[in-house]
Symmetry: C2
Subunit: 417 residues, 2 copies
């Protein structure tokens, strides 16, 4: 095995932009797209995206398996989605009120998502999870939220993983449980007494960032969650902000025959255009109407036109099956390569949203070295967050990636002896 010349070793334009950003953006960047804690080689700034490829501001090309952390699902600059958005943008985006696209998109969500009888739209995933919680509290007249202990359900004061700047009161009504652990959920429900407004969870455990495996849901747990929610009169909220349209277009637990009461969608709905949605069952319709819910850009038409076009693409064929099939090829290839290079890796989560962990790598040092070696060779992965497949990823792309990850494993082996 020879290690090929790395694609990029210096990112001078990126470095210049980082220096400028350091003066006018706190710590130079914030949130999940801040790469200051990532290994060297990860670009901070990007110039272009097309299909499954990204180009950084220095002109380096990447086969991208992060999909903007989820929003990209039909390929960057998808011509069908972009044409729909542009046609609407030219007629009007934020107008004096909503456009007909809002009705059409609500009808499409109701047609697409099995449990949905109605839909509302906002901008952030956090808007959708927050609306869902508010609707649940309005409907039940209760306060407590049962939530996975380390699960991420949004960037607001209730949910976000860093309490700095929030108050104890903001988090006073959260009771934690463990995913796939019905006993812990029962204990949380008992702690809530009669005051459990909602159970909120993701369709599988995808806590990030970190070094912990993802857990596919145990069907018995899923059935138990539904039964418990019914028994205690709590609203079951499914947070599909990260998973939506990648696992099952009708809802992630649809194959299990289990329907939540409310679902929050966002990231992949419109292939990158900013939109989110909460959909729900008929008995929660009035509470959804009664709460205060609005935003300046929530009614704008272009992102809705994009969502209609994108969901049309995603439901025309069984695109989740396609993404999972291609993701499984990547997974199988990485597993073989890791073993060949003497690494034990654990891969978890749905193949369309893969996560790879090295054995005995709580510090993520090995993951950092491997993904840094990969990104320098033009394959964009992440050391501490699940990756994402899209419909723009083909078998040929996986083969292209695996040629380079093989070299990345080899380089990582040289670093770890």
């Amino acid at each position: 095995m020879t290690i090929t010349a790395t694609q990029q070793t210096e990112l001078p334009v990126d470095a210049a932009l980082r220096a400028r950003a350091g003066k006018v953006i706190p710590s130079g960047m914030y949130g999940h797209m801040n790469v200051t804690l990532m290994p060297a080689g990860f670009p901070q700034f990007y110039a272009e995206g097309k299909g499954n490829r990204l180009w950084d501001v220095d002109g380096n090309e990447y086969l991208d398996f992060m999909c903007s952390f989820g929003p990209m699902i039909s390929g960057y600059a998808n011509p069908v989605v972009d044409a729909a958005a542009l046609a609407q943008q030219k007629r009007g985006d934020a107008l004096g009120g909503p456009t007909a696209r809002m009705v059409e998109l609500a009808e499409l969500m109701v047609d697409t998502v099995a449990h949905a009888d109605w839909a509302m739209f906002a901008k952030n995933g956090t808007d959708a999870t927050s609306l869902a919680v508010t609707i649940a509290r309005a409907a039940t007249g209760r306060k407590k939220l049962l939530k996975g202990g380390t699960a991420y359900h949004g960037a607001n004061a209730w949910f976000n993983p860093n309490p700095l700047g929030s108050t104890p009161e903001d988090r006073a009504n959260i009771i934690d449980f463990e995913f796939n652990d019905l006993a812990s959920l029962e204990a949380a429900a008992a702690e809530a007494g009669g005051d459990a407004a909602a159970i909120i969870l993701s369709p599988f455990r995808h806590d990030a960032p970190g070094s912990t495996d993802q857990y596919i849901v145990d069907p018995a747990f899923a059935r138990g969650v539904r039964a418990l929610a019914d028994r205690i009169g709590a609203v079951l909220i499914m947070d599909e902000v990260r998973t939506g349209f990648r696992l099952h277009t009708g809802g992630a637990w649809e194959p299990l025959g289990i329907e939540p009461d409310l679902t929050a969608f966002s990231k992949a709905m419109a292939n990158g255009y900013a939109i989110s949605s909460v959909v729900g069952i008929d008995s929660l319709r009035q509470s959804a109407a009664d709460i205060f819910a609005t935003g300046s850009f929530w009614y704008a038409g272009a992102a809705m036109a994009a969502a209609i076009a994108n969901i049309g693409l995603l439901t025309a064929t069984d695109t989740p099956a396609q993404m999972n099939r291609v993701g499984q090829l990547l997974r199988d290839g990485l597993q073989s390569q890791a073993a060949a290079h003497g690494f034990t890796v654990f891969q978890s989560g749905p193949p369309a949203m893969p996560f790879l962990r090295f054995e005995d790598d709580d510090s993520l040092a090995t993951a950092a070295a491997f993904t840094a070696a990969a990104v320098r060779r033009g394959v964009l992965l992440h050391p501490a967050h699940n990756w994402f497949l899209s419909t723009a990823h083909t078998e040929a792309d996986v083969a292209w990636a695996l040629e380079r990850t093989d070299d990345a494993f080899a380089e990582t082996r040289t670093l770890f002896g």
Copy 2:
């Protein structure tokens, strides 16, 4: 005075869309763009916007003084803003990370807003006010927020005007004061004891919807707010989500020589593209870096390109002066017409964000009749919310509008004897 034929009396396409929406959207529509409580004649759904004109889905044309409740400031479908957004969209919007537009826009905000040393970007105005509050709490280690009693600062559980679905804990740390009433602010500060994290207020009192006048800030109150914040060590947060770039591009209190510590912007930043921003002083930079702040679409480039182009347009000339001058013409004309038709009206707020109230009209019945008569004649106003001027509104447009509002006053007079 003859009453001309009304422009529109029936909205059949709108009615059909409302019927469809009633099945798939809670109560058919939600939030500030829900017109179910508005007088007949206000369309719910719009098809197109160009300059200062809107067309509803039935093809009726309106001279629009609502500007999408603020976002439109440079004319619908402004060619300069749209070209900038489209050029960026074609290269990439939501990519693997931010584009160079994010640095350029942060630099532009720092150059444009007098007190700004740094900038962060999000999607909703609520995101920006929430980030500001979080930064203030992180910086001070305190909890309490001093807030105008009926002021609107966002749609989240802390701020929104309807507590349904929020918890008492969500609002436990809010202490109210009255705008332009320094004694009430002093009392609120005393109630907070040493625990006041922030004072949050808008640059003038623009509570809505309702029948209460807007109050321009008393300079002595503004100076007192700044002095009190300094004295008690609270962060002064200016909510310019509604006012930003319409009053003074360098910050609304800039003409008074008073600078806040943090300012939230959103609506008009990008002429309708979804973006918001919090900007702040250097001493709050580290707290801004330390809090958890992120969103899937917060780094996307197209809305940032639109904001750069739009702010460029707004700062090339003294556009607030232009909007206020044209707004004053509208105000003067309406005042004369109202008197001629035997109505006493009170007009308040900056002329670029006018509010008109009829005497003895707490029920808003007269305002409803007048604005309904106006909208049927093609002039889009609002009975219970301030209106908005844009740079696309000219003296000729005001003359066109006043021809129709004269008839609208006449019709209103026939209804109220």
